[in-house]
């Protein structure tokens, strides 16, 4: 009897998740933002095919040029084509946030679930640690971790992941606390479900929405952090480049080539905007479904 109830409950959730996507696809802002990110993925994957020039080919005679028919977005201080460099750095703009959000998920989700479901001293200890970490200025703390690990893109992004982990911890813990109060969790326990099964079948689907909102917004914050750290020379190291390190080059030459400030910054803003818009849309859609 008990098993049939659960078996009946599982397929019921499927159409609900499909509805969220359908609700989202009806929003023009979501469609635009998602298409932009898809386009970015395509650009990142096919960068060698799409880019008009070798991103590292230096033509010193053509340095610091403005936009032209040959170089649509001009050239940098070593005469490299800015458009090609922008295209080749697109993969980092997606990978770097993925690393930090991945690290944040690995740390924040299990601890959040554990604290929310177990409560008691586990919750008290983890919550205090999260409070302390959240009270550190994010970038300053990341700087300290980079000091320990050494500069480099992966290290910088792992550092940001550690900085973000308490955010995810809070979201997951809060959601888990709320879910744990529900009577169906009690029923599931009463019929002998293991904790792992309760987490997998009942808790995770219920915290999916706040989790998704938080992770998409963190993707944008992580990209901004990557740009900042690479701008400071603590993230990506030459000859690799990211939009942040391209901005550093543009900044050094802003008096001779003011235009160069625009391309990488615009790409950054549009990508962050896309992440934020998707996060906002999911939040709205979920809130509306709740109130409906």
């Amino acid at each position: 009897m008990a098993t049939t109830t659960i078996a009946a409950a599982v397929p019921l959730r499927r159409p609900r998740r499909a509805t969220l996507l359908r609700v989202l696809l009806r929003r023009p802002s979501f469609v635009v933002a998602a298409s932009f990110l898809l386009l970015l993925v395509v650009v990142a994957v096919f960068a060698p095919v799409i880019a008009p020039y070798d991103p590292n080919k230096q033509v010193l005679a053509d340095r610091l040029q403005g936009p032209s028919a040959q170089h649509w977005l001009g050239t940098d201080d070593l005469g490299r084509d800015v458009l090609s460099r922008l295209i080749h750095a697109a993969d980092l703009a997606l990978l770097a946030p993925l690393i930090s959000v991945g690290v944040a998920i690995l740390i924040g989700v299990p601890t959040g679930l554990w604290a929310g479901l177990r409560r008691g001293w586990v919750d008290a200890v983890f919550s205090r640690i999260a409070d302390a970490l959240l009270s550190l200025p994010g970038l300053a703390f990341a700087l300290a971790i980079v000091a320990v690990l050494g500069p480099g893109l992966v290290n910088a992004m792992v550092a940001m992941g550690i900085v973000f982990a308490p955010n995810l911890f809070r979201v997951v813990r809060g959601a888990a606390l709320a879910v744990a109060e529900e009577s169906y969790i009690e029923s599931a326990r009463a019929i002998g479900c293991s904790t792992a099964r309760i987490v997998w079948v009942h808790v995770l689907p219920n915290i999916a929405a706040p989790f998704l909102v938080q992770t998409t917004i963190l993707m944008g914050v992580a990209l901004l952090a990557e740009a900042s750290l690479s701008f400071l020379g603590l993230g990506v190291q030459p000859p690799d480049s990211s939009w942040g390190s391209m901005l550093e080059v543009a900044y050094q030459n802003q008096y001779r080539a003011p235009f160069a400030v625009l391309p990488a910054g615009t790409a950054l803003v549009l990508t962050v905007l896309a992440f934020n818009t998707i996060g906002d849309c999911i939040r709205d859609a979920v809130a509306r479904r709740r109130s409906a």
């Binding site: 200025p137 400071l232 910054g265 803003v269």
Partner: protein
Amino acid sequence: MSTTVIVRRLGGGVLVLWMVSVITFALIQLLPGDAAEAIAGDYATPEDVERIRREMGFDRPVVEQYVRWLLQVLSGDLGNSLYSGRPVTDLIFEVAPATISLTCVAIVIAVVLGVTFGIIAAIRQGSWVDRAVTSLATFGIAMPNFWLLMLLLLPFTVMNNWLPATGYAPMSRGFGTWLSHIILPATALGLASAAELARHARGSAADVLARPYIRTARARGATGSWLISRHVLRNAAIPVVTVLGLHVGRLLGGSIVIESVAGIAGLGTLAINALLQRDYVTVQGFVLFSAVVVVVVNLIVDLLYGWLNPKVRA
């Protein structure tokens, strides 16, 4: 606010500060491999490493090291810079005024712009003003602050010579000189916070404006600025103050990059240089100092919150 609440809040703040001290202490302990070797650098002789190990107390048990370090910190001694040998506290107090100026002006800009535009948007809900504020806020949040500063520098310093491009001028050189140096970096630093504050202020002001007591006040003849200053502002300020408290840490972090673009010798520049010189003691001092500032500011915000909102005073 009752004394017990204040005591409990202070206790919580002290607990967080203690945890912060453990985390910052752990930083040096976590240096890969041998901490003394990492600090000595690549060209150190074994004697150098041994000397550093003794001087820093790495040859003692970890708990003893921590207690000694904590007592030192509590007496205001953050250790000596590994690079210049000078006390880290001196280094921090030399550059702190620049960063404090930058952050404070940024907060003022964030509050003035954020609250003003947020309330205007709430009053004219659904109008083009509202839509413009909302979309600008969305852009402001997505904008990297250092790029914004580069964009601001283009018209004001690169193409024209309207404002000084780099550096910091202390207030002693005159208010105008000080402001002309700080205004662009502070705007770039504060605008993202202004955008987020505008969103929150719009939300809470819209919420307040829909309340029955506003209708009552209107019926009694309250209009315009009287209505806003007397009834809306204080109630709408509550969420704004909370958000502002959360932003102090972000502004301090953001000032690191802004200082480097604006050529301001502040805390951020100190931290970056220390990091590149592998001056771990200074980095540690910087992290601890910033954390203390953020915790204390948030404590003040918490207490302020109780004053603004009598409902949480219990």
